[in-house]
């Protein structure tokens, strides 16, 4: 299958500071990439650079054969980059359903399909964005990103700060989206072992550069490989 996303020599940061340097990788259509690393190594910066909200220093981002590097965040979203931010960023003054329809774009994902994926959102469809629990907000953020019918889905720590039961529910949904729906995705997550089973490849960042790029299975199968590369002790 052809590469959907190609990142070449990408450097970016905030203002004059450089946070990621000469990063390169590619992602095939329908593939999923686990983006791993300790806090502060540049994972969120890499996602933010893909959506276009960091200070661009150099390199090239190609999505589905088109160079999206010079595009604004708005145009990148319309080019097919869906984003689930770490902060969720739900529109508090809109209801659940309004949050979904406000940004809807034509395609297979519509409100009914999002409700099918997250029945809990259907129950809360008339509630305002600020009346939702953290887990519901995360479901809404994910559903909202799907509503733009993206070619590439970026998820920034989707399991962060959620109760275990909600984590399991979200993981099941993520697995369905990535495996069954074959959505191309990049998932940043601290709980690496939760997402590695359903991602094809993993990228580990260390001080803004790539320290490991390879199959997710390799990190899972080799005893201690993941912990050694992340620089943490196995729990």
């Amino acid at each position: 299958m052809a590469d959907l996303l190609v990142v070449e020599n990408l450097s970016a940061g905030y203002g004059k500071a450089v946070a990621i340097e000469r990063i390169g990788f590619s992602l095939k259509a329908g593939g999923a990439l686990a983006l791993l690393g300790r806090n502060g190594v540049g994972k969120t910066t890499l996602l933010n650079t893909l959506i276009g909200v960091t200070t661009f220093k150099g390199g090239r981002i190609t999505l589905d054969g088109a160079d999206v590097t010079p595009l604004s965040p708005e145009r990148r979203a319309r080019a097919g980059i869906g984003w689930v931010p770490q902060e969720r960023n739900i529109f508090a003054s809109l209801t659940v359903e309004e949050n979904l329809t406000a940004i809807a774009r034509p395609g297979p994902w519509d409100v009914a399909r999002v409700y099918q994926m997250f029945p809990r959102l259907r129950e809360r469809r008339s509630n305002m964005g600020n009346q939702l629990s953290g887990g519901e907000q995360q479901m809404l953020a994910l559903g909202r990103a799907l509503m733009i019918n993206p070619k590439l889905l970026l998820l920034d720590e989707p399991l962060e700060g959620l109760a275990p039961v909600i984590v399991d529910e979200l993981l099941a949904a993520l697995r369905r989206i990535v495996v069954e729906e074959a959505m191309t995705a990049i998932i940043v997550e601290q709980k690496a072992r939760k997402i590695l089973p359903f991602t094809d490849h993993a990228l580990i960042l260390e001080r803004g550069t790539v320290s490991f790029a390879g199959p997710s299975a390799q990190l899972l199968e080799e005893p201690g490989a993941l912990e050694a590369r992340l620089g943490v002790e196995r729990a």
């Binding site: 970016a12 905030y14 203002g15 933010n48 650079t49 959506i51 276009g52 909200v53 960091t54 200070t55 661009f56 590097t69 010079p70 595009l71 604004s72 965040p73 708005e74 979203a77 319309r78 984003w83 931010p85 902060e87 960023n89 529109f91 508090a92 003054s93 809109l94 309004e98 949050n99 329809t101 406000a102 940004i103 809807a104 774009r105 909202r144 990103a145 733009i148």
Partner: protein, 347 residues
């Protein structure tokens, strides 16, 4: 600097809210349908209760439309303006000049005036896409001042400081003559207001309207989700200018006079005051604000013709310091029914 880096300069770190502080402060939840129907029953019924005040009712309907047009940009898109009179005045002058030059049929004149105001709104909308509330206040104020000076300068067309005389309108739909008492004028203005509210309702309930509220919530966040923020703001600003132009045209056609006052700063300030009184973001705030403003103005100016502005100003200060919600809650608690309800509450 490339596009990504420009965006980053605005949003590195936490993404700031950019929906306008004033818009958030004044925002109110939508009215239930029953309340909307009641408002229209009262609006029609008012004519039969006080037929001798039809001129005042007409003025309220026009100001209500003008205030609703500002609500579209302030309440739904978070754009604050101190120069909305630019569109009101443009509509008034176009309708007036058409009538003076022999094109006195009301509806085509109304439409032409709205379109002329919309054109000005479209062209000036690009100026308000960037910057903060303060920037927008100054830009919108500046546009209104420019139009005021243009109207003053081209007095051969506009009548300048003397105003535009000789505005005589044909009957509405060829059937209803304008009368001295404002009877036709009120129903004409009320009909246009009703149609505009219907259109505005459709617009704000559409995905476009929801996107506007998302932009008001956080413009950068909306852009990151693919909402064309600039296009949306240009579109709603143009629509708002169209409706303000209609209000101005109604003013010219029903009063049959246009002066520089239609472009004056106080018009823009008054309409903003009406929204402060009535609230934003539920369409009827402008209408309610216009009723409160005009009734207070009429009552107070009857009592003290020279100092009515003092009392309106005092009300505004109290309203801002105490807060409309707290005032209405306390006033509501004084009502007998409400008191009984409180006292009867076992809790």
């Amino acid at each position: 600097m490339s596009a990504p880096s420009r965006a980053a300069d605005q949003s590195s770190g936490a993404i700031p809210a950019d929906g306008g502080v004033l818009a958030h402060t004044l925002s109110r939840p939508p009215l239930p349908l029953a309340a909307e129907i009641a408002i229209w029953i009262v609006a029609v019924g008012a004519f039969f209760v006080v037929p001798d005040r039809a001129l005042l009712l007409n003025e309220i309907a026009i100001l209500g439309l003008f205030a609703m047009s500002l609500d579209l940009v302030l309440g739904y898109a978070g754009i604050v303006s101190l120069g909305h009179a630019a569109f009101f005045g443009a509509g008034a002058y176009v309708a007036g000049m058409l009538a003076v030059n022999g094109y006195a049929t009301p509806l085509p004149g109304l439409l032409a005036a709205g379109l002329a105001a919309a054109l000005i709104g479209f062209l000036s909308s690009f100026l308000i896409l960037r910057g903060s509330d303060l920037t927008r206040l100054m830009i919108t104020l500046g546009v209104a001042l420019i139009l005021l000076e243009i109207a003053n300068r081209f007095d051969d067309w506009t009548g300048g400081a003397d105003g535009l005389y000789g505005v005589a309108m044909d009957p509405v739909l060829g059937l209803f003559e304008f009368d001295l008492y404002g009877h036709t004028a009120y129903f004409y203005s009320l009909s246009v207001l009703f149609l505009c509210v219907l259109v505005a309702r459709l617009v704000i309930a559409s995905p476009f309207g929801l996107s506007l509220r998302a932009i008001r919530g956080n413009r950068l966040r909306a852009a990151h989700l693919g909402i064309g923020t600039s296009r949306h703001l240009v579109a709603v600003y143009t629509l708002s200018a169209f409706m303000a132009g209609l209000a101005g045209a109604l003013n010219a056609q029903t009063t049959q006079f246009v002066s520089l006052e239609v472009l004056d700063f106080h018009r823009s300030a008054d309409v903003l005051l009406m929204l402060v009184l009535g609230g934003t973001g539920y369409l009827y705030g402008g209408l309610i604000g216009a009723v409160v403003f005009k009734v207070l103005q009429t009552l107070i100016s009857d009592l003290t013709p020279q100092y009515w502005q003092f009392w309106i100003g005092l009300l505004l200060v109290v309203l801002v310091l105490v807060g409309r919600d707290r005032m209405s809650e306390r006033l509501g608690a004084l009502l007998p029914g409400r008191r009984r309800g409180v006292e009867g509450d076992p809790a």
